[in-house]
Symmetry: C2
């Protein structure tokens, strides 16, 4: 007998295939190649495709026909990839999804312009799925673009700001990560013809899931197994990033521990060899436990919102997705 | 008695004031400052504001109420400024409108992100003016964004492509410059409630005017008076840009002249001191005259399209604007 896990997993993998097929066809007929070959390179480099799945799942949850939201699903993935390309330039990153980043493989100009085109094509695709609800869907989408830029700006600002608080950090990830997942759920619900009540509930579901998702990312950076994670463990600490864990530790630490943590800010990072020392300190200060609790708190807030969905199977799928995200190890 | 020139000039300067007022209020309430202060810096650095005026003029020409298109007028200026910020990074430009470029005044990350936000706010503003014609206006606008990226990509490609033809060049400026002016006229006519026939005619008016505008830019680079032009004369030649004039000269030249022109491509530019020598060569080859003829040809094509406008004063204003652009000296 099939378990719920199998059923939901099957639905997601089938939908994922449809999204991938559409993504594989993007830019095929577009010219010049100097612009669209790099666009293809990044959008076809994999990724969880969480954002398109949220659009589809939320459209389904409000009783909409998911056939009508695949272009919108592709649009949010294009938007996501636009942010990745430009963020990688700003972070001077070498690798993305195990492949060379766009600005390293090509050049700076190509990466800037490809990012811009990915955003433009996000609108091109979104406009294919909007009907009489154009304005509201496009406004939600555009609000997502505005917020993601603001979030990235705050993130860059924090690099040189020594007074960042936990609240500042939460505002930043709300804009940089949660706003986009919120938007995906909102436009899915709108395109699916859901009531305003359901649109709002699913938007909150997405936002809270986004908060949990980002905190989980911060946590995995320090406690994941390197082989599974696919990234260097402790990378955030090495780069001196002021994550939820770090800011929490800084607030709780006293004496020598506090001096040690302050030195991370002063030195703008630590050496790779020091990661395990800091991991132990984080465990000692209860920061790992605090973060796990916070992830569960946000996930519960997300799950609460699913109550508005009448269909048990759709509601369970939303629950399943949110729960599986916090169980991930990469 | 007031001349037509005074009347039209007065209309444009009054409309310009209204546009400037709206532009001055943009980003005032937005945070973070690290993102929106740079956005303000570029959008308030002046410029001809030709694109907003085209939106307003075309809305008026089809009998629309221009009160309803000011947000759209601001949107096209935001879009234009997005392209300037990103193009200046790609061209490694130091100055724009006599001021330090964004990436030089701030840094690369700020400039990339500010450009992105300018584009996002273009959509925010455009959405304020769209009504039941959302989809068509937004599609035209988005098509403009796509084309301007493609045009810039071709422009960058031409830097290292030694086989660029005059036709290649015309396709490039059609996308990079003319597509945006076409879009301004098209969305003005759409928002003003004009018929499809008028929308198409005004779009063609904008496109042909855009072609004339860019060729005039190329021409001014070599024949303008430095004091009025505000830029170094012959800058395109110094940078080795394959402009309409250069490609035309290359096609017409023979013997020693041809060898000299080919050396510009090989050396990726010329010395400042050599500009007058090349200017004389361009005159000798008839390239200056050819370009002037081409500008007049495109302007006439633009003017032909104004016939669909019934109101004599509106029609004359469109004619006046197109004519005044080719008389400009900067």
């Amino acid at each position: 007998m099939k378990t719920e896990n199998d059923l939901y997993g099957h639905f997601f993998s089938e939908e994922l295939k449809k999204v991938e097929l559409r993504i594989s066809k993007l830019f095929k007929k577009e010219h010049p190649d100097s612009l669209y070959e790099p666009c293809s390179y990044i959008i076809k480099s994999g990724g969880k495709r969480l954002r398109p799945l949220l659009v589809i799942l939320c459209a389904k949850a409000v009783g909409g026909d998911i056939k009508n939201v695949y272009n919108a699903a592709v649009a949010v993935e294009l938007l996501h990839n636009f942010t990745l390309v430009h963020d990688d330039i700003m972070d001077n990153a070498d690798k993305r999804r195990g492949r060379t980043t766009l600005h390293k493989k090509y050049d700076l100009s190509t990466a800037i312009l490809s990012g811009d085109s990915l955003l433009a094509f996000a609108y091109v695709n979104l406009l294919k799925d909007t009907m009489e609800n154009d304005k509201s869907v496009l406004s939600s989408f555009t609000k997502g673009v505005v917020e993601v830029c603001e979030g990235q700006s705050l993130d860059k600002e924090f690099e040189t700001n020594d007074k960042v608080t936990i609240d500042d950090y939460l505002i930043m990830i709300k804009k940089k990560t949660a706003a986009l997942l919120e938007m995906c759920c909102s436009i899915g619900a709108q395109l699916g013809g859901g009531s305003v009540q359901k649109q709002n509930a699913l938007a909150k579901y997405g936002r809270n899931m986004g908060m949990a998702f980002q905190l989980q990312d911060d946590l995995l950076d320090i406690i994941a197994e390197e082989a599974e994670f696919g990234k260097v463990i402790g990378g955030d600490l090495v780069e001196g990033k002021k994550t939820f864990l770090f800011l929490n530790a800084l607030e709780k630490a006293k004496g020598k521990d506090k001096i040690l943590l302050k030195s991370v800010i002063k030195n703008k990072g630590i050496k790779k060899e020091e990661v395990s020392k800091f991991r132990e300190l984080f465990y000692k200060l209860g920061v790992i436990e605090d973060t796990e609790k916070e992830i569960i708190r946000y996930t519960k807030l997300a799950l609460k919102e699913t109550k508005v969905i009448e269909s048990e199977i759709d509601r369970n799928m939303l629950v399943w997705l949110a729960s599986s995200l916090i169980k991930r190890n990469k």
